[in-house]
Amino acid sequence: MKFRIALLLSAWMLGFLPSASHAELAQEFMLKNGMKIIVKEDHRAPTVAHMVWYKAGSMDEHNGVTGVAHALEHMMFKGTKTLKPGEFSQRVAALGGRENAFTSKDYTGYFQQIEKSKLEKVMALEADRMANLVLDKEEFSREIRVVMEERRWRTEDQPIPLVYEALNATAFMAHPYHHPIAGWMSDLLSMTVQDAKTWYERWYAPNNAVMVVTGDVEAKQVFALAEKHFGKIPRKAVPVTRPQEEPPQRGIRRVTVKAPAENPYVVLAFKVPALRDVEKDDESHALDVLAAILDGYDNARLNAKLVRTDRVANSAGAGYSNIARGPVLFLLDGTPAAGTTTEQLEKLLRAEVERIANEGISEQELKRVKTQLIAGQIYKRDSIFGQAMEIGTMEMSGISHTKIDRIIEKLKEVTAAQVQAVAKKYFGDDALTVATLVPLPLSEKKAPAAPKGLRH
């Protein structure tokens, strides 16, 4: 089964630690039209991951048309001036390729995995749809229904995703991270093919795109192919998304979601710094290590204490992804065990951070976390796809992929005192949002009425 992925890589789903490789260094090249090409050679197997990333995600949308970044992603498979709807996928399939696309808050990406001799063919296809997409009204009217089914499947019928939707909408009032990647259902219902067209024309330009290729290729050859297929696509004036900075939070916020489920769930989101400058943002690196001390391995603090020893939770976790265009959150979450309430679990999760703030961490814990970091750099080399994802995610956030190794070095330098300091500084009430799932029995929830006006 293949899915176009809407929610992949939302901030809290990304692995907690980016890691680097001692293998071949990635090479970078800029086309005259402003498109960046990044190639990382890896000759272990005769395959290639080819990706084109656009710096346009749900955070670039406006009110009333939320979800359009994702809807356009679906429409990118619906034909160009020379390809019929669906033909893109047929051609990739005929080459033995696997393909998909993903939309996040920060970007939209398209990829193919193929045997190496097929690279030029998929590149030509990708270049074609960067410039020549045809947005047909009939196709759109069908595809937007698929998009709505996707939203139902991923969010409307899923208690935990509903909680995260409410969490983001509560934590972010001014910043567009307020809106779900999939868009609000009402916006999907009123979306038109013109909305998709406007989006495509505004953002799909070579100077707003980055190509990432990893695998069994020669970098120079890839640059030449990119020049050949993308080089003639003209640059566009791409708008600048306004800062829409989130004003400082002035007190704890709470939101409750009732949905059919068995177990309650609670997630705490603290506003903390993102990583903007790898050299200077030591607090961000320290927060990264803090997340690993709490939840970076089997017997890390939250699982050891709350699940294994005290048995007050069935699961407990921490997450911090500092690589993003917008503001980031440090998350603590968990499902209480029988006999514990979400209110109690909320306090217990915070108590673990407070314990670090008061007592610090042991050198042994710190060493353990760093050991995993170093090994992670080696393990990640097993996947060319994973390495391409890492490069693309960094680039989209505004941090060069050349900093990947440097981040690891900086993480290795983090001290126990720095971890203790961030645990003290960032986990008060004032910048905290708490979202709680209140389970409803299956029989009590009334199914919403069917959307009107969809059939044609």
Partner: protein, 440 residues
């Protein structure tokens, strides 16, 4: 849920393959353990999996969940032993910390047929020795502490109750129940069955099933064949010999039925299928090639075209064969807004019916082969994928040249082969249907 996730894994793993360059070395130890090894020095890592005939089909009657709990509790504590080595006891926390200290990653799990443990470790001597030695003990000397069993049972039951609210889990359980009647494949853990499991049950299950003579050890990575042999011996040195396991009842295709289960979700979840295919059977390749056209080929399959592209009825619609030790299911499914359930189901049924009647067109057959053969390299392009493939080859006793002959077997499938195999295995009037969310 575990079973379904595992099922997908099997489907993909099983159809994987090798370039000519992939050399699988295989041998059997004196204690009966089977070893499959691929030497690969491109990254300084080693991946290992050790599997047994210890899947959920071996659950004792009325105690569904025993196989899963036994596997999940392997690393909850190790007992002190004197033979074959003097080793002291270890707690759950000590085991976890010891693994983390050498940056190893422990995996594993329980499927319908097999269960076991896996390890990813750095191949450097100190780290490798420490992690392999720990894995050997985890497989052989779990202490199954009583108090942790109570904790893990409570967590398992909470998860079961959660699953009972989710349409996809409800549907999947009903699907296996309808298809497999009284066969063990139909069973799944319930609150009652898990409650009844005791520490003695785990000890007995472990002693009977985690045995040297049925161990299948798959390895790929940065070690030599001599290293691999030594590691395989170490991994099984502490394991006992097991008596033959009882034969399992045959799978019988039940009378077709339709079950509709009420649920408040906005979408209905629809599943249809029947028991169909055994690992390694001759019909497998025609079924694989044919199903690419019917519902396996992602965005280009007939089901996706008819249900999603032409009518916008669903985000995901698929069909696949899940070959198992005994006939595993053919399954087709989708999710759609409730009000469209009957329309969508009709389209799925007529698409399958048409395919059964006429098979693929010559163009479709070519497209299927182009994709499967052209994409073959992607099935074995990293250690993790190769490990999955050789583990399946070992467990299901597939020929060692399975990966080498894979593309040739795909290539030689004809339209007549596809039609004949589908007609043998899949008939609309023998298929059962589960619909969660649209009760009538």
């Amino acid at each position: 849920m575990t079973r379904i996730l595992f099922a997908f894994l099997l489907t993909f793993a099983g159809i994987g393959t090798a370039s000519a360059a992939l050399k699988i070395q295989s041998w059997t130890l004196a204690n009966g353990a089977r070893v499959l090894f691929v030497e690969n020095h491109s990254i300084p890592i080693l991946d290992i999996s050790v599997e047994f005939d210890a899947g959920s089909r071996r659950d004792p009657q009325g105690k569904s969940g025993t196989a899963e709990l036994t596997n999940a509790m392997l690393a909850r504590g190790l007992r002190a032993t004197t033979t074959p080595y003097a080793e002291s006891e270890m707690s759950e926390a000590q085991i976890s910390d010891a693994i983390a200290d050498v940056a190893a990653q422990r995996g594993g799990g329980t499927g319908g047929d097999r269960a076991g443990a896996s390890l990813r470790t750095l191949s450097s001597r100190a780290e490798r020795d420490a992690s392999v030695s720990l894995l050997s003990r985890i497989l052989a000397h779990p202490s199954f502490p009583e108090n942790l069993l109570e904790r893990d049972k409570a967590r398992t039951i909470a998860a079961i109750r959660e699953d009972e609210t989710k349409p996809e889990s409800i549907g999947s359980k009903a699907f296996w129940r309808l298809l497999y009647g009284s066969h063990p494949y139909s069973q799944y853990p319930t609150e009652a069955s898990v409650t009844s499991i005791t520490r003695d049950d785990l000890v007995a299950f472990h002693n009977t099933h985690y045995v040297a003579n049925r161990a299948v050890i798959a390895m790929i990575g940065d070690i030599t064949r001599d290293d691999a042999d030594a590691i395989a011996r170490q991994l099984t040195a502490r394991l006992p010999q097991g008596a033959p396991l009882p034969a399992l009842p045959a799978v019988e295709v039940p009378a077709p039925s339709e079950e509709r289960i009420a649920h408040p979700a906005t979408q209905a979840h629809i599943l249809l299928g029947l028991p169909a295919v055994v690992r390694g059977e001759p019909d497998y390749f025609p079924l694989l090639v044919g199903n690419y056209t019917l519902g396996g080929g992602g965005f280009v399959s007939r089901l996706t075209h008819e249900v999603r592209e032409k009518r916008g009825l669903s985000y995901s619609v698929y069909s696949y064969f899940n070959p198992m030790a005994q006939p595993g299911p053919f399954q087709a499914g989708l999710q759609t807004q409730k009000e469209q359930t009957d329309e969508a189901l009709k389209v799925v049924r007529s698409t399958i019916a048409d395919f059964l009647r006429n098979g693929p067109t010559p163009q479709e057959l070519k497209a299927a082969k182009d994709n499967l053969i052209g994409g073959f390299a992607l099935r074995i392009d990293n250690n993790r994928k190769i490990l999955d493939n050789i583990a399946a080859i070992g467990f299901y006793n597939l020929p060692l040249d399975y990966l080498d002959t894979w593309t040739a077997k795909v290539e030689k499938v004809t339209i007549a082969d596809v039609k004949a195999a589908f007609q043998r295995k899949v008939a609309l009037d023998r298929m059962s249907t589960v619909i969660v969310g649209n009760a009538k």
